[in-house]
């Protein structure tokens, strides 16, 4: 069904009783040209781009739970392309451009809101580093503005500028950054992919790979039976190591828990996304009114989808240091998701050493903003057996070659990225 003002008016006249499911909950067929493991944003976006851009429509997306039940439904919904290193800068801008046309492409309201992403700086050295990153963005055609304290005081008078330890000197603003409604992104890709013939199969957990005589992956074994596949792509975030292990692979990845938080709904307060530069705290306000925020990962390997109190305390301290007035807002909910933390903080989108198996992993805790870009370049790789030029550096063998893309400069310690 096509959504428009007319379909809305028609549905309103019939008392909203005739809405149809927006995507088809399919049963598995025997064989597909491409099987995508993981029905999150990345997997569904990959399937949609395969069908819409690359003409491959005999595609299945397998999801062990329900679509969007993993990190796609657990993030803080921020979109941005303010990266400084070659490899990242171009890729995230490709993704940003796809966000800007996503709703028209998918015919689905994903509530993409370019309200701006502001990174605050608190020292001369941090200002210089931000100026450099902003310049890198601008020479690559990405918008960035370095604001001083006077400009910020006009924009956000409630910030704690006079914090004795971390006074706010200014910020790097990307106005095209912002937020999107994470569940609607999942449903939108499911809606558009399903309309092009992609089978979305839920409650279908992959339990192993089948191989042909040459050792090439020929399909997957699942909780709903064996499914043949010309190619298999995995986009399973925190479960990447577990799925890769079924094919006998070890990855440069650790799974860690990241917590996110939402407050009770309050009147409009925060006009954009902002981040505290002297700790780790990022916050925006949802259209429903809740403050959506988060900070560091807990720092230890976990598959538990829940975290511990020291990080809750650290995140709330960050919030209080930045915006003291939120101290009386009550926390509504808090949850955890499992991040596929790579050894250099950068994703891997590449063929695996096993013929027929393709890897999309290592998103650390920045996967949501990458959703459309990741889907596009992964579909490109699956369709053409060749990396897209904006993902050409996201290779699995870069650790062996010493070609890491380490945006934070932390080295091979995943819990620090």
């Amino acid at each position: 069904m096509k959504y428009s003002i007319f379909s809305l008016a028609r549905a309103a006249l019939s008392g909203h009783k005739n809405w149809q499911p927006t995507w088809r909950d399919a049963a598995p067929k025997d064989r597909y040209d491409v099987v995508i493991i993981g029905g999150g944003g990345h997997g569904l976006a990959t399937a949609w781009f395969l069908a819409s851009e690359f003409g491959i429509r005999n595609v299945a997306v397998l999801e062990k739970g329900w679509i969007g039940s993993g990190n796609a439904g657990r993030n803080t919904t921020i979109i941005r392309s303010n990266y400084g290193l070659p490899g990242n800068t171009g890729f995230y801008e490709l993704s940003m451009k796809l966000w800007e046309r996503m709703e028209q492409d998918l015919n689905y309201n994903a509530m993409v809101s370019q309200r701006g992403v502001l990174n605050l700086y608190h020292s001369d050295a941090q200002r210089d580093a931000f100026a450099r990153r902003g310049n890198t963005m601008r020479i690559n055609g990405i918008d960035a503005e370095l604001l001083d304290q006077a400009a910020l005081r006009k924009m956000l008078p409630f910030l704690n500028f006079e914090n004795a330890r971390f006074p706010i000197q200014g910020g790097l603003l990307q106005r095209r950054g912002g937020t999107a409604r994470h569940d609607a992104v999942v449903w939108g890709y499911a809606h558009a992919a399903s309309a092009l013939g992609v089978d979305i199969i839920q409650n279908c957990e992959v339990t192993g790979f089948t191989r042909d005589a040459n050792g090439r992956v020929a399909g997957v074994e699942t909780s709903r039976g064996e499914i043949g596949a010309g190619k298999v792509g995995m986009a399973v975030a925190g479960s990447s190591s577990r799925v890769a292990a079924m094919a006998g692979l070890r990855l440069p990845i650790e799974s860690h828990v990241l917590q996110a938080f939402v407050s009770e709904a309050i009147k409009p307060l925060l006009p954009n996304v902002m981040t505290f530069g002297a700790g780790h705290f990022y916050v925006s306000q949802s259209d429903k009114g809740g403050l959506v925020f988060g900070g560091d990962i807990d720092g230890y390997n976990s598959y538990a989808q829940r975290g511990n109190l020291p990080v809750v305390e650290d995140v709330c301290e960050g919030g209080m240091a930045l915006i003291p007035m939120i101290g009386r807002v009550r926390l509504l909910r808090q949850w955890g998701g499992i991040m596929d933390m790579s050894m250099d903080g950068t994703p891997i989108i590449d063929k695996s050493p096993v013929d027929g198996l393709y890897i999309n992993a290592g998103w650390c805790y920045g996967g949501f903003k990458a959703t459309p870009g990741s889907g596009f370049v992964f579909a490109h790789l699956l369709a053409r057996d060749q990396s897209h030029k904006e993902a050409a550096l996201f290779r699995l063998d870069r650790f062996q070659r010493g070609a890491m893309i380490d945006e934070k400069g932390q080295g091979a310690q995943p819990n620090l990225h």
Binding site: R242, G299, Y303, L309, F399
Partner: protein, 91 residues
């Protein structure tokens, strides 16, 4: 999650810093690049019971070997890591 340090008793998580999987062993100096790559970058990333190194920086400053389930966060054993200075003092 609370960790029972063999020297200090049960303490809250904030006192500890995580290093990671205790299984990888530093290869010998002449082991070659593949062995070093494996040690530095590749991980089993176990979903289940895992042996790992933690540092008790907010207490006795000993390195500890903790046996913990990554699916449930349940800790089944804590002992001093081999070679930890404080372990020798405590022994």
């Amino acid at each position: 999650m609370r960790i029972t340090c063999p020297f200090c008793g049960e303490r809250e998580l904030g006192e500890f810093t995580y290093l990671g999987d205790a299984k990888p062993q530093r290869p010998s100096a002449d082991a070659g690049e593949d062995a070093v790559y494996d040690y530095v970058y590749l991980r089993d990333n176990i979903a289940g019971v895992m042996s790992e190194h933690w540092y008790h920086g907010g207490g006795c400053r000993a390195w500890l070997k903790v046996t913990r389930n990554t699916l449930t966060h349940e800790i089944s054993a804590v002992e001093a890591a081999a070679g930890a200075g404080a372990a020798k003092v405590g022994a």
